[in-house]
């Protein structure tokens, strides 16, 4: 992936670390809402080896799939696109693959990422798998944006931090040359009396001390990320401020801009809709969860401008942004 490709920002990787946090459901719902607004939207099931996005959006047996492209059965990635019942919504399945597609070789992956970044759609949503394998993280680095999903449970939050730090570390690795990165790791081991550096932010700090120019460049490329966060499956009794506070901790301690896009209320009817293989938004359009999803979509569309530097909770407890240039 060269520098030019990474600036395309209509590609939205959606990941969350933990399984079952609602990545696939949210990808499907967001895609549907975007398509309804007349935006040409493509969903890609990049959960290689455990694909199931097709079930959520009601395409039971997608003809072509991502593995056809990986295995060069189809000439271009465009040929693997399936139409969905919804106008303007297109889909590349990850299903129906041979079982070894989960283990993409580096060259295959690079070819796939390049092909994705050239697809002519207004929004491309990538439904990523759980975990922090290189496959998942490299999809994240395809664009400077991305949506993290978490639920208000320690397990899920732990995994999302893990994912964010993995993306962070992978970015450092991508920017530095391989031997420079190894030197940096060694320097980190030396500093901390033999134990390897645990956090990527510590690595960055050490790099800045050793090589201020390189460190500054790296910091800037990390600041260029415009991540978003969604808090899914929020119960009524949960603290509604968790999302904004997670964004604040990332900003303050990792120097990453993460913008909060909203809470989505937990609803048992989501389970019901998935079981019946019908769209939740079509079957239950007047529930709070459906309203939350629509609001999330609107905020996603309007929130394209640069988020301000500081994050601030005002006295009423509502999260607002303020310009703190410190």
């Amino acid at each position: 992936m060269n520098g030019e490709d990474s600036f395309i920002n209509n590609i939205w990787p959606i990941g969350g670390g933990k399984g079952g946090s609602g990545k696939t459901f949210l990808t499907g719902s967001l895609g549907l809402l975007l398509a309804r607004q007349g935006l040409r939207t493509l969903l890609i099931d990049a959960d290689l080896g455990a694909a199931n996005l097709h079930t959520v959006i009601g395409v039971a047996h997608p003809g072509r799939s991502l593995s056809d492209f990986v295995n060069k059965k189809v000439e271009s990635l465009e040929d693997a696109v399936t139409k969905t019942p919804v106008p303007n919504l297109y889909f590349i399945s990850g299903a129906g693959d041979n079982l070894d597609v989960a283990n993409l070789v580096h060259t295959q992956k690079m070819r796939l990422l390049r092909a994705i970044s050239k697809l002519p759609y207004e929004h491309i949503l990538l439904d990523l798998g759980a975990g922090t394998s290189f496959n998942t993280i490299d999809f994240f680095l395809i664009s400077n944006t991305g949506i993290f999903i978490t639920t208000p449970e320690p397990t899920s939050i732990e995994n999302v931090y893990r994912l964010i730090r993995s993306v962070y570390l992978r970015k450092i690795r991508q920017v530095l040359r391989e031997e420079a990165f190894r030197e940096l790791l060694q320097a980190a081991v030396m500093r901390s009396d033999g134990s390897p550096a645990k956090n990527p932010e510590d690595l960055l700090r050490i790099l800045k001390e050793c090589d201020p120019v390189q460190g500054g460049l790296l910091e800037e490329s990390l600041r260029a990320f415009r991540f978003k966060l969604v808090l899914n499956q929020l119960r009524k009794q949960d603290n509604h401020q968790i999302g904004p506070l997670i964004c604040r901790i990332c900003e303050k301690h990792l120097g990453l801009r993460v913008h909060f896009l909203g809470n989505i209320l937990h609803d048992d009817r989501v389970h019901d809709a998935v079981c019946r293989k019908v769209g939740f938004l079509e079957k239950y359009p007047y529930t709070q969860t459906a309203t939350d999803l629509r609001e999330f979509c609107n905020r996603f569309l309007t929130d394209r401008e640069e988020p301000p530097a500081g994050f601030h909770l005002d006295k009423t407890g509502t999260a607002t942004f303020m310009n703190a240039n410190s």
Binding site: I157, I246, I249, G310, L313
Partner: protein, 222 residues
């Protein structure tokens, strides 16, 4: 990006340097929500030692800033280090009662405006009709109405400005003495009415009242 330990106390608590003690308390409470031992927000984000360190820093920041004396000293050290401007300091202003009728703040006070018509651009006395009426000794309601219509001012415009109910104004214009209010009120209404027509208020009031009192005396005699 500065690491947490390098930040000053205001930055640690995400506060502007002019924050009030109320803001400081609030910010510390929010910070504990994030960094507290059982906080879900920072779960797994820090190791045990890191968290203890962060909490100790926050506590030190809070205790320094919440005390006036220590805060002043800390501010002074920031100012000498060039990290803060003198005018960004917090100044406690004694609380004052909120004024009940704060006209400047509410801002929607309508001032008396003369209804702009083309004819009203010059003094109305120069119009022949007006001059003729004003040269008479007494002034009836009919005369006032004629002037008003000559100037192209509607009754509604006058009602809008002087805030008097319609019945009263028509009573004045139609000389219905029995419906007129007390002398004091009538006089002030007439003055306001005259001002709307850009006539001399004292003169109009005096002449009208003279005419009206003469009429009511006659009515009583008969």
């Amino acid at each position: 990006m500065k690491s947490f330990e390098e930040q000053n106390y205001y930055e640690m608590l995400d506060l502007p340097t002019s924050a009030s003690p109320f803001d400081i308390r609030h910010a510390y409470k929010t910070a504990l929500q994030i960094y507290g031992d059982d906080s879900i927000v920072s779960y797994s984000f820090f190791s045990g030692d890191e968290r203890t360190g962060v909490l100790a820093n926050l506590e030190r920041a809070f205790l320094t800033l919440i005390n006036d004396q220590s805060r002043m000293e800390y501010d002074r050290s920031l100012i000498t280090a060039g990290l803060m401007q003198e005018n960004e300091q917090y100044r406690s202003a004694p609380k004052k009662p909120i004024p009940l009728f704060d006209l400047e703040e509410t801002g929607n006070v309508t001032r008396m405006v003369f209804p702009h018509t083309e004819k009203a651009l010059f003094p109305p006395v120069e119009l022949p009709v007006v001059r003729e009426i004003m040269s008479k000794d007494s002034l009836t309601g009919q005369d006032l109405r004629r002037i008003r219509i000559e100037l192209g001012i509607t009754l509604e415009q006058i009602i809008e400005i002087i805030k008097v109910r319609r019945g009263l104004l028509t009573a004045i214009e139609e000389d219905r003495c029995e419906e007129l209010p007390s002398m004091l009120h009538l006089k002030s209404f007439l003055r306001a009415y005259a001002e709307c027509l850009r006539l001399d208020p004292d003169e109009v009031a005096a002449r009208y009242l003279k005419q009206a009192s003469g009429k009511s005396q006659k009515a009583e005699e008969s």
